[in-house]
Subunit: 432 residues, 4 copies
C-alpha cells in the first residue's frame, strides 16, 4: 500500500483510526449482546457510545510498546477515556474475537469498494463493446493473423471475464463475512452462541461454524484468490491494449492527455504506460495468494504467524486491486480506437483468413480433409511469399478449379458471413 497506488477510500479503510474505531464497534456490539443476555449490566455500551470517544492511535501504540499486546493496549486506552464502565468490555472474550471480527468487517467493506469499481469497469466494457460490435478487425492467434472478429467482440470477452470475476468476489464476500465472539479457544467458555450471533448480526456478519481461537484462514485465502483472478483478467485486458498500441499495429491507444510526456529522451513517443502498469500490479495482487495459503495451516487452536502477513497483504492486495479497477475503467472509457487502421490491418492479411472457407468448400466437394488442406496451403504459401494474391492463386490452381467454380470461390470470400454470429455472442456477454 504505497500512496501512488492507493485510492483514498482504501487509505481511509486501512488507517489506524479506522482499525481502532472498528475494534470499538466490535466491543460495543459484543457488549450489547451480553447486556441482552444479562451478562453485563444494561446500558454500559450506550453509555460508552454517548461519550463519543476520540481514540488516539499514537497513545495506543505507546501503551503497546510496554505491554507488547495490541488489544490490551487498546482496551487500556479505552478505559482511560471511558472510565469505569469500560471494565465490562471484552468480558469473556479473547483478542482474536475483536481482531478477527474487525478484520471481517474491514474486508467486507473492501470487497464492497471493489465491487463498485468492478461494476464501473464492466459498464465501460459493455459500452465500448456495444459501440464497436461491428468494427471489423483481424483476430490473432499466436500473434499471427487468423480470422476476422470485431473490436467489440474482443471487448465482450473481457466483459464476460470481469463478470465472472464479480461473481467470485461476491462468493468470497460471503466466505469472509464471518466473525467470532467465542472466547480463547472457540468454546464460548464464558460466552454463548446466542451472544455471538446477536453481536455479529449487528455488524453484518455470521458466526464461524467451528472457531479455534480464530476464524479459519481458508476463508481469507479464498478472498485473495478471488482478487488474483480479477487482477489476472485485468492483466489480459492490459496486455491486449499494449499489443493494439504497438507501433506496427496501432489499432487502439490509451488516451494521451494534454501535457503528458512519453519519454524524457524521445519527444515523439506515446507509450501504453497505464496498461504496462496494470500488468505489473497484477503481479503484486497475485503474489498475495501464496502467503494467504501458507497462513491456513496454523498450529493447534492457532498461532499468530498469519497476523503479520495479513497486516501487509490485506491492505496491499485490496488497495492495489482497487487502484487497478479505477485505472482499467478509465483506460477502457478513454481508449482511442482507430477503425481505419483496424480495417487496414485486416486487409493487409491478403484475405488469407478465408482459407478455411475454401478448405471446407473443397471438403464439401469430396476432397479428403488432409488433401484439401495441402491444396489450400500451397496457394496460401505462395501468396505469403509474395507470388500473387491468395484469391488469384486459387483461381489459377488446376486442382482447385477442377472442384470449385469461380462463383463458388468468390462465395468463400465473404466478411459478413464470417461475422454473422458476432451480435449473438456480444449480446450474451451484455446480458449475462
Amino acid at each position: 500500500m504505497i500512496p501512488r497506488y492507493t485510492p483514498a477510500e482504501f487509505e481511509e479503510l486501512w488507517s489506524p483510526a479506522t482499525r481502532f474505531s472498528t475494534w470499538l464497534e466490535v466491543e460495543l456490539a459484543a457488549c450489547e449482546a451480553m447486556e441482552a443476555e444479562g451478562l453485563v449490566p444494561a446500558g454500559i455500551a450506550k453509555g460508552i457510545r454517548a461519550k463519543q470517544l476520540s481514540l488516539d492511535p499514537a497513545r495506543i501504540e505507546a501503551i503497546e510498546r510496554t505491554v507488547k499486546h495490541d488489544v490490551i493496549a487498546f482496551l487500556t486506552h479505552v478505559e482511560e477515556l471511558a472510565g469505569e464502565g469500560a471494565r465490562w468490555l471484552h468480558r469473556g472474550m479473547t483478542s482474536s474475537d475483536v481482531l478477527d471480527t474487525s478484520l471481517a468487517v474491514l474486508l467486507v467493506r473492501a470487497t464492497d469498494l471493489l465491487s463498485a469499481r468492478l461494476d464501473k469497469l464492466c459498464g465501460a466494457l459493455a459500452r465500448r463493446a456495444d459501440e464497436h460490435r461491428r468494427t471489423p478487425m483481424i483476430g490473432r492467434s499466436h500473434g499471427i493473423a487468423a480470422e476476422p472478429i470485431t473490436f467489440g467482440l474482443a471487448l465482450a470477452g473481457h466483459l464476460a471475464e470481469m463478470k465472472r470475476g464479480r461473481a467470485r468476489l461476491l462468493a468470497a464476500r460471503q466466505a469472509i463475512a464471518v466473525g467470532k465472539i467465542a472466547g480463547a479457544v472457540g468454546t464460548y467458555a464464558h460466552l454463548s452462541p446466542r451472544i455471538e450471533e446477536r453481536a455479529l448480526a449487528a455488524l453484518g456478519l455470521r458466526p464461524e461454524t467451528v472457531s479455534t481461537q480464530v476464524v479459519a484462514r481458508d476463508r481469507h485465502a479464498e478472498l485473495f484468490t478471488a482478487l488474483s483472478l480479477i487482477a489476472a483478467g485485468i492483466e489480459r485486458l492490459a496486455t491486449n491494449v499494449r499489443h493494439w498500441q504497438r507501433t506496427e499495429v496501432r489499432e487502439a491507444e490509451e488516451r494521451f492527455t494534454v501535457g503528458q510526456k512519453g519519454s524524457s529522451a524521445m519527444p515523439h513517443k506515446r507509450n501504453p504506460i497505464l496498461s504496462e502498469n496494470l500488468c505489473g500490479l497484477a503481479r503484486i495482487v497475485r503474489a498475495a495468494v501464496i502467503p494467504a495459503l501458507e497462513n491456513v495451516p496454523l498450529w493447534h487452536e492457532r498461532d499468530i504467524s498469519h497476523s503479520s502477513v495479513e497486516r501487509m497483504i490485506a491492505p496491499d492486495a485490496t488497495s492495489t486491486l482497487g487502484f487497478m479497477l479505477d485505472r482499467a475503467a478509465g483506460l477502457v472509457e478513454g481508449l482511442v480506437v482507430y477503425p481505419e487502421k483496424l480495417r487496414q490491418n485486416l486487409d493487409s492479411t491478403g484475405e488469407l483468413f478465408f482459407s478455411e472457407a475454401v478448405l471446407l468448400a473443397l471438403v464439401q466437394k469430396g476432397r479428403p480433409r488432409q488433401a484439401a488442406y495441402e491444396l489450400v496451403q500451397r496457394c496460401a504459401m505462395r501468396a505469403i511469399a509474395g507470388e500473387g494474391r491468395f484469391r488469384d492463386n486459387l483461381a489459377a490452381d488446376a486442382d482447385v478449379v477442377a472442384l470449385l467454380a469461380p462463383d463458388e470461390i468468390a462465395r468463400c470470400f465473404d466478411l459478413d458471413h464470417a461475422l454473422s454470429h458476432v451480435d449473438t455472442i456480444i449480446d450474451r456477454a451484455l446480458r449475462d
Copy 2:
C-alpha cells in the same frame, strides 16, 4: 504425476489413451450436432462409432513428429482407421475446439473423482469428531496450553473446513464445465451457436460465453485455486497430527502397521510420516496456482503458452490432491487417540486455563479489568515458577480472598461448564 503419488483412477484419466478417446468423443459429438443442422450428411458419426476405432497413441505421436501438430496428427490417424467418412470430422472447427472441450470433460471427471474422495474424508472426520466429542483435551494457542476443548471439537473444525473445500470444488466444477465448438477465433464462422450447444450438452458441458480461439483461462485458474484451498486444509490437519504425535505430546498417532519400520537407524521410532508427506504434497498442489494465473493473460485471441503448463499441472495437481485425500481419509480413519494422555496433558497445565474464569469473577466483583488481570497473572506466574498450585495461590492471595469466597473460587474451576457449548458447535459442523 509420479506413480508414487498417483491413484490408479487418475493414472487412467490422464493417460494418452483416455486423452485421444476423449478427443474422438468430442469430434463425434460435434459431428452429430452438425448432422442435426444439416452441415454434415446424416449417419457419419454413427458409422464411425460402429467401427469402434482402436486409436494407437504411438502412431499419433509418430505422425506428430512430422506435422508438429497434435490434433492434425490425431485426425490423420482417425482417417487411417475410419476411412472415407472421417473427412467430415472437425468440419469448421479449430484444434482448440477439440482440445479445450476435451480438457473440460477430463477436468470435470477429475473434480468428480476428487469430490468422492473428499466425501470420504468428510465422513471419516465426522465419525471421529462424533466419537470424541466429549474427550477433553487442552486447547493450545501459540503452541502454549490455553483452555480446554475436546478432541472431537478439533476434528469438527477440520470437518467444517473440508466442507467449505467441497463447496469450492463444486463451484469450480461449474466454472470449468464449459467447452467451445466455435471455430478459429470463436465467431462460429463456419459453425453456429446451435451446433455448439447441442454438441456440448451431449458431453455434459455448457458453451463459453465469449470464446477466443480458446475457453478463457480464468476458469482453469479458479479450479487450481479451489484445489489449493483443499490442500491447505489437509495441510492444517496433517500439521496438527504431527503435533499430537510428537514425543512430548503423544495424544494421537498415525496407525503403525505391522512390519512398518520407523527408521533405518533407530528401531524404536514411530514417525508421523503420512502427515509429513501430506504437508509436502500441499506445497506441490499450491505451486500450481501461480502458473495457472500466469496462463490467464494470453495474447489477443490466444497464444499457446498455457498448453505446456496445463499438460503438467492439470494431471499433477488433480492426481496429487486425489492421493492426498485418500491418504488423509485413511489417516483420520486410523488415527489412534489416547484419551488418558489427553487428560494427563490437560491436567499437567495446573488448571491455569481457569484463570480467565477467575479474572471474570474478579471483574464481576468490581475490579477494573487490568487490575484483575495483574492479580491473576501474579498467582499464575508463581504456579508456573513451581511455587504452589494456581488454585492454592489464589486462595492464599489476600487481594483475591478479599473479593472471592472459597466456593466462588472453586466454582471457577469447572471443566463441564467450560465445555458446555461444545456439543452445539460440533453439531453445527456435522449438520452443515
Copy 3:
C-alpha cells in the same frame, strides 16, 4: 513497508527525499563525466552542487500529475531550483539511466544495511552456540525423539545456514551493483562507454554488459531470491524456537519482558510471538520472488511493467528482512535456555536413543542387520508400551544376552561417546 515492520534506516532509505536526492547524485555524476569528456561545459555540476538544492517531493509530484512522467517532473523541478545550468543535466540520457542507476545505488545500500544486521545475527548465534556447546538435548526427527545432540549444535546449524545466506547476499550485491548511462536503447547514441564507466565508478557501480533501455531484471530477481533464502533460514530458526517453547517441551523461551502481556484472556500465557511473527514475515519476503522473476521477460528493449512491482517489493522485501534480522538477533541474544528441562526431556526418552549403538553391537557380533533391527525394536517397543526400561529389557532378552555380555550392553549407553564429535562440528560452523 508498514511502520510496524520497518526499521528507521530503511524508512529513510526508501523515502521520497532519498529517492530524489539519489536521482540528483546520478545526474550530477553523469554530468561530471560528460564534462570530463567535453560534452558539457566544465563546472556545471559543481555549480549545481554549490547551490545545495533542497528538493521538494511534493512539488515534483504536483508536476508529475500534469506531465505524467516522474523523471521529467524531477528535471523540471531541478531547473526551477538550479536555473540555467540545469539544462545541461540529463544530456543524451533516458529516464531509465537515472532510475535504474539510482535503484542500484539504493539496493546496494539496502544490502549493506542487511549485511550489518546479518553479521549481528551471526554473532549472536555464534555466542549462544559456543555457550551451549555441551548442553545435551534430545535431537528430534519427525518431531520424535531420536538421538542426543547439544543445544549449541542446533544453534551452530542455524549459524552455518546464516553464513551461507551472507555469502548469497554478497553475491547478489555484486550482481546488483550495476547501473547504466547508455541512452534510450542502450547504444550510447549520444553518450559513450567512457562517460558511463566514469559516472558509475563515482557511484560505486559497474556498467551493465548489454543494456536495453534498462538494466537487465535478472539481476534484481537474483537479489530477491537471496533475500528469500535468508528469510527461509530465519523461518527455520523461529520454527524451532516455537517448538522449544511449546508447553510440553519448554526447553527454551523468548525473553518475556516486564509488563508484557501474553493474552488478553489468559494471564498465565507466555507465547513465542516474536518467532511466530518471524515465520509470517518470511512468507512476505518469499512472496517477492515470483513477481521479481515475472519482471524479467520485458518486451523488446523494455516495457515498464516491472516498475510498479519494484516500487512495492524493493522497499517491502528489504525492510521486512531488515526487521526480521534485527528481531532474530534479539531473539537469539535473549533466548532463555533451560538446561535442566533439556536434560529432563532427554532422560524421559528412556535411553531409547542408544538403540542404534545396541544394533551396531549386535551386527558386530555377526547378526544380520535386519534380524538385529527386529531384536532391538522388540525390546524398544516393550519399553514404549510401558513394560520395563529399554536397558533392562535388553538384559532380559535371551537372544540379546546370547550375543552381548552385560558390560557390552552397558558400553552402548554412553552419552559422552555419542557427543564426542560435537565440538569438532561446532568449531567448523564458528570458523567458516
Copy 4:
C-alpha cells in the same frame, strides 16, 4: 517430468534404476571409508562390487509396501543379492545419509547436463549476435518504436543474460555438491568426520558444515532459484521471438520445417509455437521455487515433508529446463532473420528516432531542455498525425530554424553515428 518435455539423459538420470544404483554407490563409498578406518573388515565393498549386483526396482518397491521405508527396503534387497557381506553396509548410518548424499550426486549430474546445454545456447547466441551485429533494426520500448539498435545487439543482450545464468548455475552446483555420512542427527555418533570426508570425496562431494539428520535445504532451494533465473532469461528471449514473428512485425521467424502444419483450420499460418511453449515451461520451472523455499524450515533435526516435494520438483524442474535449453538453442540456431523487413520497419518510423539528436542540438544552442522538448514534440506529433515528414517539419518550423541551420538538422539524421558503439557492446558480451 512428462515424456513430451524430458530429454533422454534426464529420463535416465531420474529413473528408479539410476536412483538405486546411486544409493549403492553411496553405501559402498561409505563402506570403503569405514574399512579404511577399521570399522568394517577390509574387502567388504570390493566383494560386493565384484558381484555386480543387478538391482530390481520392482522388488524393492514390493518390499517397501510392507516395511513402509524405502531405504530399509533397498538394504533388504541388497542383502538378498549380495548375501552375508551386505550386513556391513549402512553401519552407523541413517537413511538420510544415503538419500541426501545420493540426491547431491544426482543434482550435481543434473547441473552438469544443464551446463552443457547452456553452453550450446550461449554458443548459438554468440554466433547469431556476431552474424547480425550490423543488421539495423528499430529498438522498441513500451512496444513503441524508439531508437535504432541492431539485431545482433538484441541477441547479445540475451547472451549476456545467459552467461549470468551459467555463473549462477555453477555457484548452485557448488552449494549442492554436499553430502553427509553423519548418522541419525548429524553427530557421527557411530561414525566420524574422517569417514564422511573420505566417502564424500570419492563421490565428488564435500561434507555439510553442520548436518541435522539431513543436509540443509537452503542449498537445494538455491539450486531451484538458479534454475528459475535461467528459465526467466529464456522466457525473455522467447517473448521477443514471439514479438518479432507477429504478423505486423515479421522481422524474424522460427524455422518452419517441411511437413509442419500451423493450424488445423487455417493452412496459411506459421506460428511461433516453440517460443510460446518456452514461455509456458518457464512458468513450470519458476513454480518450483516456492515449494523449495517452503522446504527449508524443517522441524528440529528434520521432518520428512521435503521429500515428496523433491521427488516431484527435482526431476521436473531440471528436466524441463534441460528441454528448454535444447529447444532454445535450436530456436536461436534456426531463427530466420529478415534484414529487409528489419530495415523497412526501421524506415517506417519516419526517422522520429532522431528526435533526441535534434533535442540535444537545440539544447546545445541554448534552449532550455523542456522548451526544446516541446518544440521537437510539436514537429514529431504532426508527422505522426500524417502531416509531413518529421525532418521536413523541423525544417519548416520557424523556432527550430532560428537555432539550427539546414546542415545542422541534417547531421542529426545519421544512423551510423547512432550505432557507432554497438560493436563495442557486442564484443563485451562475446568476451565476458
